[in-house]
């Protein structure tokens, strides 16, 4: 309850801050719209040159892409701003003030800033996702749809965990960006169906750095047929990644020297 109350305060502050910088607010909405447009156009052009992609038809790929856009919008709304600042806090020694507060530091630095402008984009992403579902030729039940939404939320949390794993090394490297650029490049792996990957790359993207589990696995489960192995894989890897992230976070805090560099 205490954490929920705290989060509601974060929301209030974030919305009032967003309203102060209105031009910035508008720019961010337009930027995300460009991002959606580029992603959708990318697949549109691909399907002008091939009838299927990794066994998916265009309408299935459209659901897959719109699911990714939905996860991205959720991430941008809830976590992205906070994660952007974390390397700077470590680099400049600003993390001190968060360490001394009587709440979980990870909770505070992960959820402190709610991106109100991205919330508008989240609504747009939901619109695209709903439109993609109405065009889907594959039959599905309401139960399957809700299960898919649950898996997407799992993918969203996994996305957060993976980005944290790329940022936490900043405790040792002291740089102001961490491996954020590398993470964003890896982000391309989320945007592609996992069945295109083979050999060591497949192993890497489904086991070691499981970017393919964020949207592609849920989409495969949704499009069927039933795949219990896929679900087991998804949940086991998600839990392991959470454990690794928490372990790294604790070690990182131990290595934190507070001095600005």
């Amino acid at each position: 309850m205490r954490y929920l109350r705290l989060y509601l305060h974060f929301l209030r502050f974030s919305f009032s801050r967003a309203m102060e910088f209105r031009l910035d607010f508008t720019f961010k909405i337009i930027m995300d719209c460009f991002f959606y447009l580029v992603n959708l156009s990318f697949y549109k052009i691909l399907f002008m040159n091939t009838p299927t992609l990794a066994g998916w038809s265009e309408d299935q790929a459209f659901v897959f892409v719109s699911s990714y856009l939905f996860i991205d919008a959720l991430h941008m709304t809830v976590f992205a701003s906070n994660m952007w600042w974390l390397p700077f806090f470590v680099n400049r020694g600003d993390l001190d003030s968060y360490l001394t507060r009587p709440v979980s530091t990870l909770f505070f630095i992960s959820l402190r800033d709610f991106a109100a402008n991205s919330f508008v984009n989240l609504l747009i992403a939901i619109g695209i996702f709903s439109y993609a579902l109405t065009n889907l030729q594959t039959p599905y039940t309401l139960g399957q749809l809700f299960f898919y939404l649950g898996l997407i939320l799992n993918g969203w949390l996994l996305h957060y965990v993976l980005q944290m794993i790329f940022i936490i090394p900043v405790f040792w490297t002291q740089s102001s960006r961490g491996f954020n650029d590398f993470f964003f490049s890896m982000g391309m792996a989320i945007e592609r169906p996992d069945l295109i990957y083979r050999g060591w790359l497949r192993y890497l993207l489904t086991m070691i750095l499981p970017f393919s589990l964020i949207v592609s696995f849920p989409a495969r489960v949704f499009f069927g047929p039933e795949t219990p192995n896929l679900l087991t894989h998804l949940f086991v890897v998600t839990i392991v990644m959470w454990a690794i992230m928490l372990l790294l976070w604790k070690r990182g805090l131990r290595a934190y020297s507070s001095a600005s560099s």
């Binding site: 031009l23 720019f27 337009i30 930027m31 990318f42 691909l46 590398f182 391309m188 295109i196 790359l201």
Partner: protein
């Protein structure tokens, strides 16, 4: 030592300050983008039973995806925020009182990054060429590579102007990094860094070819990879050159207007 060489050496030291981050980010970004793009196209080639698409074989496409993202990185130089951050926090003051042209200084720091990434392109391309193409080296290839690198450097000046236009909005708005990101999306997509332009619908391609992005990215990439004749490359280069004065005068006009707005106290 002239001020220009001092600026260049300082910037190189800055680039190399965090070496582990630098190399992991650079190698990670380059390789992972390449592997993902190759996996995607390999899947398309195999599912359609093709050995060639739009005149491109899989190894040629792989080389394309090695050179195109690196070209994009060269164009982006010092990256988003190189000017807006200082307008925003008042740091621009020091450039205004120094006996140097502020925009010239910024252009030089931006292009130092571009030149550094250009050297990386040369190394990575040479390795990629060795691994992906077993045909013997020819003199024409070397000529194409040298001309292509010069072409990219001129394109980086054009991209500097484009980015400066976005950055200078900071004279009026509080936060403008989003404009830089938008520019990157549009440039990468319409320039052919995501998908080679040859896969675009023909009518759309005819329009895109006259925008600055295609001549900045696809133009030099196709020249280096031997995908365009010298005449086609020259045409693309001239299209880009035609954009340069337009962009330059827009930058100067905005800079003058922005300076009138600048309070120098930061926000």
């Amino acid at each position: 030592m002239s001020w220009q060489s001092k600026v260049v050496s300082t910037e190189i030291r800055k680039i190399l300050a965090y070496r582990s981050d630098f190399w992991i980010n650079f190698l990670g970004q380059t390789l992972i983008q390449l592997f993902i793009a190759r996996a995607l196209w390999q899947s398309i080639f195999e599912s359609n039973g093709l050995t060639e698409m739009k005149g491109l074989t899989l190894p040629q496409l792989t080389l394309y995806y090695l050179v195109a993202p690196l070209t994009m990185k060269i164009l982006m130089g010092e990256n988003i925020g190189f000017l807006s951050r200082e307008i925003y926090d008042g740091g621009l003051n020091r450039y205004l009182v120094w006996p140097l042209p502020p925009l010239g200084y910024k252009a030089l720091t931006f292009l130092t990054y571009s030149c550094f990434y250009l050297a990386q392109l040369l190394i990575i391309y040479s390795i990629g060429r060795l691994l992906l193409d077993d045909s013997p080296y020819q003199l024409e290839e070397l000529v194409r590579l040298i001309l292509g690198m010069g072409y990219i450097l001129v394109a980086a000046i054009g991209y500097f102007f484009l980015m400066s236009l976005c950055e200078m909005v900071a004279f009026w708005a509080d936060n403008t990094w989003t404009l830089g990101v938008m520019l990157r999306f549009v440039a990468a997509f319409l320039g052919g860094a995501f998908i080679p332009l040859t896969f675009f619908p023909e009518n759309l391609r005819h329009i895109i070819e006259f925008l600055p992005f295609a001549s900045m990215i696809s133009g030099p990439v196709n020249l280096i990879l031997g995908r365009a004749s010298f005449m086609e490359s020259l045409t693309a280069f001239l299209i880009m050159l035609a954009w340069l004065p337009i962009l330059y005068f827009s930058v100067m006009k905005l800079w003058k207007k922005g300076n009138l707005q600048y309070t120098g106290v930061g926000m």
